[in-house]
């Protein structure tokens, strides 16, 4: 399989707590010095590859930088450092606002977390799906209507619902509109940000099956962001585990969830409720995560919450190391390797 998306050493920092712009300019003029702002390290040196036709899961707790990473990949925001390569083309060079009108814009599309919030309330379902087609495909009139109706039926959305506004649709139908809108322009890579988080289990199953079918029919790759590990396990070939801006573990989904090597993944896997298991054998995490503001580059990000935590973790940042198809950023990964 050839690689579709290559992400190399991508970083995105956000400045925090700066003085208002006018005051900062005045201060700079008076003192001649530039104030150095503290920075939130939202995404810090992340690298991975998505192959053609692959489904990759991205898991991690809220605040770990999943959304920032996803927004950087969809080119909704600019990255600070690193490269994003789509096929043969480097897409991270163009600023996000220019890329919005780029010919490759259609190739990466996104399904947002809450379809209710991400569909313009003044748009009917038809207009919501037609919008990207008008902008990126320049479709009009009959051709536009035909294309919208085709994707709507691909997504199992009855055509009579196209005239409705998003508040007149059920949660499952709204999710279908969100998916139809994203696949309308025939993307190569579809990024799904918790597409089923707001849905009941019964509807969730239907949407997951729809996504699976669309992938086979249209030959897309998926990046599936979720905190529901049991869903990731069912849907994904490979999984990336993120903690405070860094990827701490990656590998084939089933292997990662059955034999997690990083202590954070272990905590995550054992914390997920299972139908036929009691909650007792869980690995307990203590305390709150470390601050993502200007973290010490030599301390493991998980230090302090990690049940393992030794002196080595406080003085050397563990790098991602490879064990076959698996990659783990922990000094003690060997101890958990299946023999």
């Amino acid at each position: 399989m050839t690689s579709l998306l290559e992400v190399a050493e991508v970083s995105k920092f956000f400045p925090v707590g700066g003085a208002p712009g006018a005051w900062r300019r005045l201060k700079r003029r008076l003192t001649g010095g530039v104030e150095k702002l503290a920075k939130v390290h939202a995404v810090d040196g992340v690298s991975f590859v998505i192959k053609e036709g692959e489904t990759v899961g991205l898991v991690g707790e809220s605040g770990c930088g999943k959304s920032t990473l996803v927004r950087a990949l969809t080119r909704l925001i600019d990255i600070g450092d690193g490269h994003i390569k789509l096929g043969a083309r480097e897409v991270s060079l163009k600023p996000a606002r220019v890329f919005a009108r780029d010919r490759d814009r259609a190739k990466i599309q996104m399904v947002f977390q809450d379809a209710g919030d991400s569909i313009n309330p003044r748009f009917t379902a038809f207009e919501a799906i037609a919008d990207p087609l008008r902008r990126l495909r320049k479709l009009k009139g009959k051709a536009l209507r035909q294309r919208v109706e085709t994707v709507a039926s691909q997504c199992g959305l009855p055509l009579q619902l196209l005239a409705r506004f998003s508040h007149q649709l059920s949660g499952g139908q709204r999710a279908r509109v969100g998916i139809a809108r994203a696949i309308a322009v025939e993307p190569d890579l579809l990024i799904l940000d918790e597409p089923t988080a707001a849905l009941d289990v019964s509807v969730q199953v239907v949407i997951l099956k729809l996504l699976q079918r669309l992938k086979q029919e249209l030959g897309m790759s998926y990046l599936f962001v979720s905190h529901d590990l049991s869903v990731v396990k069912l849907l994904c070939d490979r999984v990336l585990v993120m903690y405070l801006g860094k990827i701490v573990e990656s590998g084939p989904a089933v292997e990662v969830f059955e034999h997690p090597l990083h202590p954070y993944t272990q905590a995550l896997v054992t914390a997920a409720p299972r139908l036929h298991e009691s909650a007792n054998k869980r690995l307990r995490l203590v305390g709150e995560p470390r601050s993502p503001i200007d973290p010490d580059p030599n301390v493991c990000r998980f230090y302090g919450r990690c049940p393992r935590g030794t002196d080595a973790c406080r003085t050397t940042m563990p790098q991602l190391r490879s064990f076959g198809q698996r990659h783990v950023a922990c000094h003690f990964a060997e101890e958990f390797l299946p023999i």
Binding site: S62, S170, V201, S202, L234, A272, L275, A279
Partner: protein, 334 residues
């Protein structure tokens, strides 16, 4: 049967709306014993929260309890005076709401909000209130509680806000805690910690808990008994392990089969056919699941079999799945 703290008997609730009467609950019955954790499980719109609100006496004004009793500690809450209710609510029955960020007062420091509760229910002399509030924060596992007591909800993470909600709910040492999806929107790691916390504190205080969730896997791990609801009906009630291993009601079985954890791959995962019926309909069938049900038989058009209070495994179905020893509590018509 051990002494029940709460017993809901034949509760029916309807909402009078402009577009018709919504029959939100019909003949809902269940009991909660001392120290027991009961999970209310079902899809959204199944009436889990309405049941909780009815017990708390905080139903929307358009709602009307048409028939039924809610007996708490020997008192019928529906017949009680407003002033008596005010004394029970918050003090004896406390509730943790779904979204801590909207349930907390955004312009009052969290320590003060806990203090309000202590003052309202006279649990501490006024001058000790700030100290007590800090103690409560410490009890729910917030680090540096003295400083955090001064913080506003927006300064805290979702998990910490939920801990504050728990501290407020437990401030008056209630004998019944209602937790309405206390961990939706939280990470699995935080979820596990919060659920542990509720369990530990409930154990220490001998408190009964009603735990509302749509996550069957979570209910399975965290409850003693499960009450499965569908479209305002209780369809099945059983001890948790028994219910998960041998569901009798077709809906429970489908709910389990739809839980992602139950399958090895996506193909095995089964969707539940159809959707909840419109509860405004005047021609709702006696079994509100019958229109979605694959085990429907002729008897399903008759009034539902009555569930008796007291038996351990109840199923309101004319054609339930066979039990493992074929001698389950098949309930007969009243």
């Amino acid at each position: 049967m051990t002494s029940s703290v709460l017993s809901v008997e034949g509760l029916s609730v309807e909402f009078r709306t402009r577009s018709g009467i919504v029959h939100a609950l019909e003949n809902v019955s269940f009991t909660v014993s001392k120290g027991e954790t009961v999970a209310l499980v079902g899809e959204s719109g199944s009436g889990k929260s309405v049941t909780a609100y009815a017990v708390m006496g905080i139903l929307d004004p358009v709602a009307r309890v048409t028939v039924g009793r809610i007996v708490f500690d020997g008192v019928d809450l529906l017949a009680a005076k407003r002033s008596d209710l005010a004394a029970i609510r918050g003090r004896a029955i406390a509730m943790i709401f779904q979204n801590p960020r909207t349930a907390l007062n955004p312009i009052r420091p969290v320590g003060k909000q806990i203090g309000d509760m202590l003052i309202r229910h006279g649990k501490a002399p006024r001058r000790n209130v700030p100290e007590q509030a800090v103690e409560m924060l410490r009890a729910v596992g917030i680090t540096d509680p003295a400083r955090r007591a001064q913080a506003y909800p927006f300064e805290m993470s979702g998990g910490m806000c939920q801990r504050v909600m728990i501290a407020i709910a437990l401030a008056a040492k209630p004998s019944l805690l209602i937790a309405d999806e206390p961990t939706t929107g939280l990470d699995v790691t935080t979820q596990a910690v919060i659920m542990d916390l509720i369990k530990d504190l409930a154990g220490k205080m001998g408190m009964a808990t009603i735990f509302i969730t749509h996550d069957l896997a979570l209910a399975g791990q965290r409850s003693d008994r499960v009450v499965v609801m569908h479209a305002g009906h209780v369809v099945e009630t059983a001890p948790t392990a028994k219910l998960l291993a041998h569901p009798r009601h077709p809906y429970t079985a489908e709910l389990i089969a739809a839980t992602p954890d139950s399958a090895q791959n996506l193909e095995e995962l089964a969707a539940i056919a159809g959707s909840l019926p419109d509860l405004r309909r005047t021609d709702l069938p006696p079994c509100r699941y019958s229109e979605r049900c694959s085990r429907k038989i002729a008897a399903c058009d008759q009034p539902l079999p009555q569930a008796f209070l007291g038996a351990s495994h109840l199923v309101t179905c004319w054609n339930p799945l066979p039990s493992e020893n074929a001698s389950g509590t098949r309930v007969s018509a009243a």
